[in-house]
Amino acid sequence: MNASGPGHFNAANLVRAHEIVAQYPKPKSAILPLAHLAQDQDGWLSPDAMREIAQLVGETPAEVLGTCSFYTMFKRTPCGKYVVSVCTNVTCLILGGPEILEHLEERYADDGDVHVEEVECLAACDNAPSMQVNYEFHEHLNPEVAAAIVDDYKSGVLTARGVSGGRTR
């Protein structure tokens, strides 16, 4: 497969994309990792990215969309730089998760950089209530502590690891 096409991935990520495809016995398996790669690059999974992924794995864009839309981590509309995922599942529910969610939603309602979302159990119930910011865990929270953490990301005191590589935002 050559690099022609929508040309959505940057050069380094395109190299990475080909390596990813080569890891699997069948190219279609690479849809999820490629979608992660695109989302890490752009902050969301755009139609252009899905088109390029389709080309890389030899499927139609509709098939890539069908697969990707099944998974809640893929954001198919542009969203903020900071994805703040607040758990409200049962343990967090009884220990204050919904209050944190409400507080953060209100506080960052007009902040285009911060995307606050409600998520299911994050496997951090021993230290509930918990949340993730760009998939970094933060635990033992209350609304004020949670907000302070988000602000630390915004001011650069905290940074998240980009796990798929190639983070450009």
């Binding site: 016995p25 069948k26 398996s29 099944f70 599942n89 009884i94 919904p98 159990c121 496997a123 119930c125």
Partner: protein, 446 residues
């Protein structure tokens, strides 16, 4: 109530909190010795002798004997794949995440042993997408293990080759179900497959495939080290060995505890070295014994004194140890609220393939929302129960049947069945007293 931990799988990460996840830390505590030992054995014998003798049962939820599962692999059909289920998404289960983040080498070693035992040369770890730190630690561990000759070509001069690919999920609980996981790994929507064929016959890329849980595999090095028979001396009846339980909710000391199977729920919840009892000192009203999918048990002596024995709790109370998550609620908690939140989870996570699960879970969620938020109607509980019966007929009398492909649909009914069994009066009262204030989420521990 003096039960304590029995640390095998959790030994390293408890003993070396400063570096258990690094190659140095792992090697200093005996990592990869079992692999070297295993590579000297006849591959088949590992499953047929050691693992079979250990009585090890899957730690992912279903509790299926590991050696038996391996023995189902279609003979003479290659390549074969080993797929590690690291998608841990069952609410309130957090043991696999701990193992991955704090002792990835135990998992890598376990994978290598299992792969050698079943003649697999390409293994996949299907890792829950949200586990960013886990991804980093796992990929580092694999890189380091390769550098040290514990992975890659000709491992430790044995002639055995193995590559491991870490594949990140992307936010879909159903991908923990093994056939959905395989679909997802093939780049599809994570919808469970019709069985048969089972993965052991036609799994990943239609090839024979073993799917094992993280903890199951991380236990293997210990079985090799101590011998299957000695491992089987631990535990009770057919629940041999130790298991990690994720204890959460209204306990003083929430966390992961590796204990010998056979201690009681009371031991787990109340022992000072384990859960330590409720923080408020109030009685346990009910607890969920095996992850969100299980039906519930109450704070009654009968239930608290039940042993952690997979078959006993299944046969006696129709509940399961499942994923090893135990969620404890004291008497301030409105059970309908817990049932609603779990129903919301299942409705959200239904893959949408089966009509009863796709439509039924959403219906249950809507009615439970009304009930738990003070809008219940007098016959709501009966309606719910009847809807639940359309998803899993006979849901009160385990083993029930199911009208769905996978057990997620019935899981969505567990809360309803439990309300019906234990909290009927309370829920009916809630429904007839008209609108009520939304119950406070106590925040008792802050």
């Amino acid at each position: 109530m003096t039960a304590t931990e029995t640390r095998l799988v959790t030994a390293r990460l408890r003993e070396r909190p400063e570096d258990s996840w690094t190659m140095d830390g792992a090697l200093a505590s005996g990592a990869y010795e079992s692999l070297k030992q295993a590579l000297g054995m006849a591959p088949e014998s590992i499953g047929k002798e050691q693992v079979a003798a250990s009585g090890l049962r899957g730690r992912g939820g279903a509790g299926f004997p590991a050696a038996t599962k391996w023995s189902f692999l279609a003979p003479d059909s290659f390549p074969r794949y080993l797929v590690v289920n690291a998608d841990e998404g069952e609410p309130s289960t957090f043991k696999d995440r701990m193992l991955i983040e704090l002792d990835p080498h135990a998992l890598v070693e376990g994978i290598a042993i299992a792969a050698f035992a079943v003649s697999c040369h390409l293994a996949f770890i299907y890792l829950r997408g949200e586990f960013a730190l886990g991804y980093e630690r796992l990929t580092d561990a694999i890189r380091d293990a390769k550098a040290k000759g514990f992975l890659g070509a000709n491992i430790q001069g044995s002639g055995f080759d193995l590559e491991i690919v870490v594949h990140r999920g992307a936010g879909a609980y159903i991908c923990g179900e093994e056939s959905a996981l395989i679909e997802s790994l093939e780049g599809e929507r994570g919808m469970p497959r019709i069985k048969p064929p089972f993965p052991a016959v036609a799994g990943l890329y239609a090839k024979p495939t073993v799917v094992n849980n993280v903890e199951t595999l991380a236990t293997l090095p210990h079985i090799i080290a101590m011998g299957g028979e000695r491992y089987a001396e631990l535990g009770v009846n057919k629940s041999t060995g130790t298991r990690i339980f994720s204890l959460s909710g209204h306990v003083k000391r929430p966390g992961n505890y590796e204990v010998e199977l056979g201690i009681t729920f009371r031991d787990l919840i109340f022992s000072p070295e384990l859960g330590g009892g409720t923080p408020s000192g109030r009685p346990v009203k009910f607890f969920i014994p095996g992850g969100a999918s299980s039906q519930w048990l109450t704070g009654s002596d009968e239930h608290l004194d039940a042993p952690l024995d997979m078959d006993f709790v299944q046969q006696t109370f129709g509940v399961m140890l499942g994923s090893g998550a135990v969620m404890v609620y004291d008497d301030t908690v409105n059970p309908a609220l817990i049932a609603w939140r779990l129903a919301k989870f299942f409705a959200h996570e239904s893959c949408g393939k089966c009509t009863p699960c796709r439509e039924g879970a959403g219906w249950i969620e809507k009615v439970l929302y009304r009930i738990s938020h003070g809008e219940g109607r007098p016959n709501d509980l009966d309606l719910l129960f009847s809807v639940g019966n359309s998803i899993s007929p006979g849901v009160l009398n385990a083993p029930f049947t199911q009208t769905t492909i996978c057990p997620l649909g019935p899981s969505a009914v567990s809360g309803v069945a439990s309300l019906h069994k234990y909290f009927r009066e309370e829920v009916i009262a809630m429904c007839s007293n008209g609108p009520r204030a939304i119950p406070v989420t106590a925040g008792a521990m802050q």
